[in-house]
Symmetry: C2
Subunit: 244 residues, 2 copies
């Protein structure tokens, strides 16, 4: 047996997130279906994280074990031909047998895309949150700077969280405008349930003058979810990169 | 009564083209549903052209008549709120009562997008035809130059055509590469059924060395569909602009 690290990319619009679950079709399930056709047996595939329903991944990593006889290339061309258009295997390599896609991940970068426009765009609606009112990038960045560092992000997570340790280190967080697209980039060693979406919703609340960025520390230590901003919609979120 | 010219934009993936038809949901039907909610009566909406199933429009024009009391702005904000995310009204203005979205159109620009990449991209599959082998832009353009002008484009249309006069004037046709995206731009006074998709398929056949661009005139005058290239898939095609 050998362990394979697969890098996949997907448009999450049609899926109930990564993880197999009873209520809807998931990326993991569709990927396992395709792998089964190549491998002859249904593999267990372990992902680097869960992603929510409707969230996208430019790069999502997962591992599985298979017999030595399957060349790495079989995963790229073979599995892709059994996957729908909205999921692609983009890289594949053999890793050591004790490699773990989730535990070995040193960090991740997410991007949240906001279409800051009065104009509805049918080609971007799957991939962004549209906000008509002007966004103040300077204000948003004054909030983003404050969450960089090691903090207890309990306030910035939803009640569905599955962990008890809510301390995470954010190494980079900033907002950038390119034309009408305002993107929030965030890199950290790990992220709580809905954390990037709540960080984004809070950055928007800061832009709107509803939250003072000087209160960020107080909000973090409050453990009161209602003091942070709304959970931004899933469509705008992309898992951009996983670091090992 | 007054006549309204609506400019809409749509991701055509989910639709069986523009025109209402019995076998599937169409853009016209969904737009009329939304308009009915605003106007109180179901309007007849006349489009600038038919588009095929799966084809997109950055800009598609259509006209309808309504009572004077509805301000133009009602179409922008009101109708948009009743339309799904993949269709948007982007402009609206009152025109003269004898304006006709189809007959008044002086020309149109279509863009056909080819993703020239070995790598499957789930974010571009809805909007492009992926070709793995290298494309020769120079060769493709030597064909494109030959179809500019007034020609009988019968050879470059499918059997579903509804017109008898198959002469059209193409004022511009060229291919441009930007990174992995190869786009064919074509502007003309009118287009036959599947014409842009067959022009694109032929440009690709020229790139592949299967058709000699020097034979273009012969192919045009042959009236033999099989001498042209394949009909490129619908997903890559976008109606970019309509000229009045």
């Amino acid at each position: 047996m050998k362990r394979i690290l697969l890098t996949i990319s997907y448009d999450g619009t049609a899926y109930h997130g990564w993880q197999v679950q009873p209520n809807g079709i998931t990326v993991q399930q569709v990927l396992q279906d395709a792998l089964e056709k190549i491998l002859g047996v249904r593999p267990d595939v372990t992902g680097c994280s869960r992603t929510d329903a409707g969230v996208h991944a430019r790069e999502f990593c997962c591992h599985l074990d298979c017999e030595e006889k399957f060349p790495d290339e079989a995963f790229l061309s073979g599995v892709n031909s059994f996957l729908p258009d909205d999921i692609a295997v983009v890289d594949c390599k053999t890793v050591s047998p004790d490699f773990h896609a989730r535990y070995a991940a040193k960090g991740k970068t997410y991007v949240y895309n906001i279409l800051n426009s009065k104009r509805k765009d049918p080609f971007l609606s799957r991939y962004s949150w549209r906000i008509e009112r002007p966004l103040d990038i300077g204000k948003m960045n004054s909030f983003c700077e404050k969450i960089v560092g090691k903090h207890d992000f309990y306030t910035f997570s939803s009640s569905g969280r599955t962990v008890t340790d809510t301390v995470r280190t954010v190494s980079e967080c900033y907002v950038k405008r390119e034309g009408e697209m305002v993107s929030l980039y965030i890199t950290g060693d790990g992220f709580l349930y809905n954390m990037v979406r709540i960080v984004t919703g809070t950055a928007v609340a800061v832009s709107d003058g509803k939250i003072n960025p000087e209160d960020t520390e107080k909000i973090l230590s409050s453990h009161k979810r209602e003091l942070a901003g709304m959970t931004a919609p899933a469509a705008g979120l992309v898992l951009q990169k996983v670091y090992y």
